[in-house]
Amino acid sequence: MSGSVFGPAAEPIVIDVWSDVVCPFCYLGNAVLKEAVDQFPHGSAVQVRYHSFQLNPGFPVGEAVLADDYLAQQYGMPKAQIEASHAQLAARGAQSGLDYRFPATMMINTLDAHRMIHLAKAHDAEPAMVDRLFRAEFTDGLNLADHGVLADLAAELGLDRAEALKALETKAYEQDIRADLARARELGISGVPFFVFDNKRAVSGAQPIELFRQALDVTWQDRAASPA
């Protein structure tokens, strides 16, 4: 039996996404997932929830360096190798409408950016904030360690700038971020992006759209097969 609004699919398919603002594959994976949901016949019955993950939690709060310089220093990567890697990802991103501008991308501690995502979630603006932060990081070259920049982005999305600044200054949403990290640990997540469909099936990484479509289809079939 196929799901209907009165059947097992009445509840939305929930996709839980763990990602970090400075993760270039998370930007791509998020875009590809959205494409897959748009193509999915039951896309209106899909809810995407975002969860915090930090790739560089030890990076000094408030500081920012060019990401390429950080990669070169941290991993000893030759510039040519970095540029080749970026070119490959930029080409994939362009296919999904993303405009990666890696030379201006900054490495930061993303804890405060995650506070903004949780603030936005409290105002039903979570997806818009995630999108805006990714674009700010990878296209606009903004310094997301700067509280003024983050508050401006919140205001741009219609949130209260003063509330955003207060959330940053009071280190709000710490408990929510801890819960996201704890859940990631429980699930054994060691890299992002990471996508969990209905708390049952998972996709690791920015995979081709076909894989996300497969995940949606199988999850929908799970719903239809489960007792009402």
Binding site: N109, L111, T170, Y173, R185, G191, V203
Partner: protein, 44 residues
């Protein structure tokens, strides 16, 4: 609604103690292991 707790160390957030393990996830098979940024910050 925002949580308002404050912590002293603002450099990173440690995960809280894990609750009982959930059912293992069913991983969809991927073409390769690329497209992931690992916890050490390395992206491949």
């Amino acid at each position: 609604m925002q949580s308002s707790n404050v912590v002293e160390d603002d450099t990173q957030v440690e995960a809280e103690a894990a609750e009982p393990a959930p059912a293992p996830l069913i991983m969809l098979e991927t073409p390769d292991d690329s497209g992931v940024c690992a916890v050490d910050g390395w992206c491949d």
